[in-house]
């Protein structure tokens, strides 16, 4: 193999760096603009380079935090997030394990099913809710009724995380080894499979939380004052405060993903069949 000329390599490196910078700007610029609008007490028309350091204040947060519904909405969203994470894991992990072990041919179909929430917009689900609402009013009236909808909405992300985790371990051998040693399915799932899916479960959890913290349409239709619904509502009375909360939510989600990246960073080499690569002796 011949080495590429230095100039070509430099160009390639520069190209990669350029793409990264552009992508970073695409994310950071709107975030920065939103932060300025939210936290600078300056008329929008006056926002410019000359006022870059003027009148920064956290008062908007103080006001928002002081709102009667702020804490309630945050608590509700937290409850819903916990419920969604638990239901997702309880449903998804055994299902994905079963599909991998017993129905490997059905994997493509299951994958297709899990991406449907991408294809069918949330408003489609809302239309469905309106149809069934009169029949399940008892359920819809509960604050936690959003949980099943959020489980479905998060499926494209959560299933992929769990599926990738399962592909990275030798599921069949580990399962058979556990069963051979006397473990039933329950014990096998909780003491052997789940601990070895740690990264996938963490990823799935954070992705679910991100979905819960970002969903507005269904919560609004079902008249639930979740944190995103509160933000939208608050924005109408205090636009700067509403955007400040959006900055906060976005910042928290970003933080979650950084934590996720740290927690799921591989700490040892895993080979292609997912078992531990033996140490050479």
């Amino acid at each position: 193999m011949t080495a590429r000329p230095v100039s070509a390599r430099s160009f390639s490196r520069l190209g990669k760096a350029g793409i990264l910078v552009l992508a970073g700007l695409f994310f950071v610029l709107p975030f920065a603009a939103m932060t300025r609008f939210a936290l600078q007490n300056v008329q929008v028309i006056d926002l410019g380079w000359s006022t870059l350091f003027d009148k920064w204040s956290l008062d908007v947060f103080t006001n928002a935090f002081g709102n009667d519904f702020f804490l309630d909405s945050l608590v509700m969203s937290t409850k819903i997030a916990i419920g969604t994470v638990l239901l997702t894991l309880l449903l998804l992990v055994p299902t994905a394990v079963w599909v991998h072990l017993k129905l490997p041919r059905a994997r493509a179909f299951v994958e297709f099913l899990t991406v449907l929430p991408y294809v069918i917009p949330a408003i489609g689900l809302v239309a469905g809710i309106i149809v069934v609402k009169p029949h399940v009013r008892w359920f819809i009236s509960s604050d936690l009724s959003l949980i099943p909808f959020y489980v479905v909405l998060a499926l494209p992300f959560t299933y992929r995380a769990i599926d990738t985790g399962l592909q990275s371990i030798d599921l069949k051998t580990l399962t058979e080894a556990a069963r051979n040693l006397g473990a039933g399915w329950f014990r096998t799932l909780f003491t052997v499979i789940a601990p070895n899916l740690r990264s996938a479960i963490i990823a799935s959890t954070f992705l679910t939380i991100a979905v819960v913290l970002g969903e507005f349409t269904i919560a609004d239709v079902l008249l639930k004052r979740t944190f995103p619904a509160f933000m939208a509502e608050y924005r109408q009375s205090d636009p700067r405060g509403g955007y400040a909360l959006a900055v906060l939510a976005l910042g928290l989600t970003t933080l979650l993903f950084i934590v996720l990246a740290q927690l799921t960073r591989p700490r040892r080499r895993i080979d292609s069949i997912g078992t531990n690569t033996p140490r050479k002796t």
Partner: protein, 344 residues
């Protein structure tokens, strides 16, 4: 101690018949190897015994009871897998302890048994390590200890050495045999490596197309193969096309030769199957010329093209014999110790 029997076991995967009327009796305390090419059904037999595959027909008997309807986790079988199967989230001690926990043994009993097993596989100093901190050989020794810790009725070994390098493989093979003899546990060992099967087993079962072709002592399987398939699969073989003259005589390349056995359907065209070590290079026999001589350590294999048969045969000579050079003219004979006469 308990034996295990397979009675008329049949198992298919779609249109592929993995086991066909499979019968096998393993005596209590016996070490049996199942040997055969890929897809012959040897691993399926093991998985049927472990309960990982259901039966289409037949029974598996352990200690006088039919265990076929019992699910895998309720059978008392110890299994060591081909791929490293240690639980990555548990250390060596916890891995060995796993089966004892599922059996709800007390902490004291568990600790004592794990210590005993660690000593048995000589890994006491590795108890706190995780799988990724062990070599392949050590991982398989832990897997063996884990399988034995539960005091299984039968130990099932599914090609446990195939992922290891030659040296580790050889030492672990000896260790498995030592431990098996020490504990007297009934063992079925699946392998496609004939040297492994012949060197470790009380009896060797050779399988082909889901059936047992022959089961006998390693020496009998090698020296007295029941079928041409066994003769060809176990060890190397030379084939001499011949004409059957009578039950004790064949004609090969114009020479009348005595044979020890010539049973068959009565076809005149036959193949004489002879091991390379049964052929001799001497002053009489078939003329030929050396094609290649390969040094193999203790022996040397010599390939010779026979003039009248126009085929290459292989002869094994001790490495102390004279070195043969390509093109050298020699004669090859056999001392009436053919393995088999096969009808063509």
């Amino acid at each position: 101690m308990t034996g295990i029997s397979f009675e008329q076991v049949a198992k298919s995967f779609g249109t592929t018949r993995a086991l066909v009327d499979f019968d096998l009796d393993v005596e209590a305390g016996e070490f049996i190897s199942l040997l055969g090419p890929s897809g012959c059904g040897k691993t399926t037999a093991l998985r049927v015994a472990a309960g990982f595959e259901s039966l289409d027909r037949g029974r598996v008997i352990v200690g006088g009871s039919d265990i076929s309807p019992i699910p895998a986790h309720r059978r008392n079988m110890g299994m060591v897998f081909q791929s490293y199967s240690l639980f990555p989230n548990l250390d060596v001690r916890a891995n060995i302890e796993f089966g004892l926990r599922t059996r709800r043994q007390s902490t004291t009993e568990r600790r004592a048994r794990v210590d005993e097993m660690l000593e048995l596989v000589q890994l006491t100093d590795q108890a706190g390590r995780f799988a990724h901190q062990l070599s392949g050989g050590q991982q398989q020794r832990v897997a063996l200890a884990r399988a034995l810790a539960i005091r299984p009725d039968v130990l099932l070994l599914d090609e446990p050495l195939s992922a290891l390098d030659a040296q580790v493989r050889s030492s672990l093979r000896d260790e498995i045999r030592r431990i098996q003899a020490e504990l007297g546990i009934t063992t079925i060992f699946v392998t496609h490596d004939q040297e492994e099967a012949l060197s470790i087993s009380d009896r060797v079962g050779v399988m082909s197309n889901g059936r047992l072709e022959q089961i006998d002592t390693p020496e009998s399987v090698y020296r007295r193969p029941a079928t041409p398939f066994v003769a060809r699969f176990v060890g190397r073989i030379n084939e001499f096309p011949s004409l059957r003259l009578d039950a004790r005589t064949v004609e090969c390349a114009g020479r009348r030769l005595p044979v020890a056995s010539s049973e068959g359907s009565g076809s005149r065209d036959v193949l004489i199957l002879i091991r390379p070590e049964d052929l001799r290079i001497d002053d009489h026999g078939f003329d030929g010329s050396i094609v290649r001589s390969t040094f193999m350590g203790p022996v040397r294999t010599v390939e010779i093209r026979l003039d009248r048969l126009d085929r290459i045969v292989e002869v094994v000579e001790p490495c102390s014999a004279d070195v043969r050079h390509p093109g050298e003219r020699v004669r090859v004979s056999w001392p009436s110790s053919e393995l088999l006469v096969e009808d063509v």
